[in-house]
């Protein structure tokens, strides 16, 4: 056997850097998704006029898409917190293949779930901002200003989470290809 040929069990040094970047990005994604879920879940605006027949309060659970968004964001942020353990394992053992593959698979699923929630909420936010004359859907943002602003802002965090998850998937793929 030639000396200096490929030795099994030793990872290329760049894989450790990839794992550290992975951990950092995961922390960013946790912050984004958690902030987004909390911002949406704490929406509550009551308009200052009173009537017996029409309600003048807007909360996130008045719209099922927003409920789905809060649930999806929370699930993804809990998953990201739990996956920190795997990420730290990859820093310690940079040539792990099976766990990296598992992490890639779970990251793809989490990205799909988060994107679905964000898209559903975005569709409703667009409708709330603009209304739709053709189906007689009134633009509720004209009255519920604060509610709308808060809801639109919380979407930013979850879209940032989606972008970070795509980067995490790419990092896992690059680390898997260097073995």
């Amino acid at each position: 056997m030639k000396q200096g040929s490929l030795q099994l069990g030793v990872a290329p040094p760049a894989n450790r850097g990839i794992s550290i970047l992975d951990l950092f990005l995961r922390l960013v994604a946790i912050f984004g998704t958690l902030a987004s879920a909390i911002a949406m879940a704490t929406t509550n605006q009551t308009l200052p006029f009173v009537s017996q027949f029409v309600r003048f309060r807007a909360k996130f659970n008045d719209l099922p898409s927003f409920t789905f968004f809060v649930v999806a964001s929370s699930i993804v942020s809990v998953y990201l917190i739990l996956s920190l353990a795997l990420s730290i394992l990859h820093i310690a053992k940079a040539n792990a293949v099976n766990t990296r593959f598992l992490l890639l698979f779970l990251d793809t699923a989490a990205m799909g779930l988060l994107m679905a929630g964000s898209a559903a909420a975005t569709a409703i936010v667009q409708l709330a901002h603009d209304g739709n004359n053709k189906v007689n859907w009134f633009a509720i943002c004209q009255q519920y200003n604060d509610f709308c602003k808060r809801v639109s802002g919380s979407l930013i965090g979850s879209y940032a989470g989606v972008v970070v998850l795509i980067l995490l998937i790419l990092l896992s793929g690059v680390a898997l290809s260097r073995r």
């Binding site: 793809t108 990205m111 559903a120 409708l127």
Partner: protein
């Protein structure tokens, strides 16, 4: 050098005295010299997976194109009219549906254009670069298609159920055919998402 002499002691084994010793000694049991076996690069299962990848891509094109066409060809006019209300429903009445048609068309076009890269993966199974490229692009496409499907699903849900808190009526009670076509398109789009996710996992597995 003077004074240096080396004495080599050779002791005869009993077998040598009898002339029965083998000419060449057998190699010791734990030899550090092993024959070098040149293994061909493992192409077997990777090539099979790459062929499955191309087949899945074709299925994904069918699903995405089907979703885009099903949504894009919606047009229902109710048989009565008044001066004030519109009784025609098309996909471009709702921006979420317009985005749905555009995004699914982009996904179908991407899947068609990525087939050559996938064929490269079949022909050269040990290359990692095309697989990493496909992994990244497929992931971005999962995000785009999920966005389209999720947004349209949200509007379809609203159209089926309405929302009393926001005074949004459930239009599906009148526009029945429109709603059915649109719901079918959303289902096809979610199938495309599943196909793309399987493609991502397949690319990662073959890396």
């Amino acid at each position: 050098m003077e004074g240096d002499s080396t004495t080599i002691n050779i002791t005869e084994t009993p077998k040598e005295r009898k002339g029965k010793a083998p000419l060449l000694a057998a190699p010791p049991a734990s030899s550090s010299i092993k024959p070098v076996v040149q293994k061909a690069p493992k192409g077997g299962y990777k090539r099979g997976l790459a062929i499955f990848d191309v087949v899945l891509r074709l299925a994904g094109i069918a699903a995405a194109l089907g979703a885009a066409i099903a949504m894009g060809s919606t047009d229902q006019t109710l048989p009565f009219f008044t001066q004030f209300f519109q009784f025609k429903a098309e996909f471009d009445d709702l921006p979420a549906f317009t985005f749905f048609v555009i995004a699914n068309s982009i996904t179908a076009a991407y899947l068609a254009l990525s087939i050559p890269i996938s064929i490269v993966c079949i022909v050269r199974p040990h290359l990692a670069a095309p697989r990493v490229i496909l992994l990244f692009l497929d992931t971005v496409m999962v995000a785009l298609t999920t966005a389209a499907a999720g947004g349209a699903a949200s509007i379809v849900y609203l159209a089926h159920n309405g929302n009393s808190d926001a005074n949004w009526p459930a239009i599906c009670q009148q526009f029945n055919d429109f709603c059915q076509e649109v719901s079918g398109a959303v289902v096809a789009s979610f199938l495309t998402v599943v196909v793309l996710m399987v493609l991502v996992v397949l690319s990662a597995f073959s890396l």
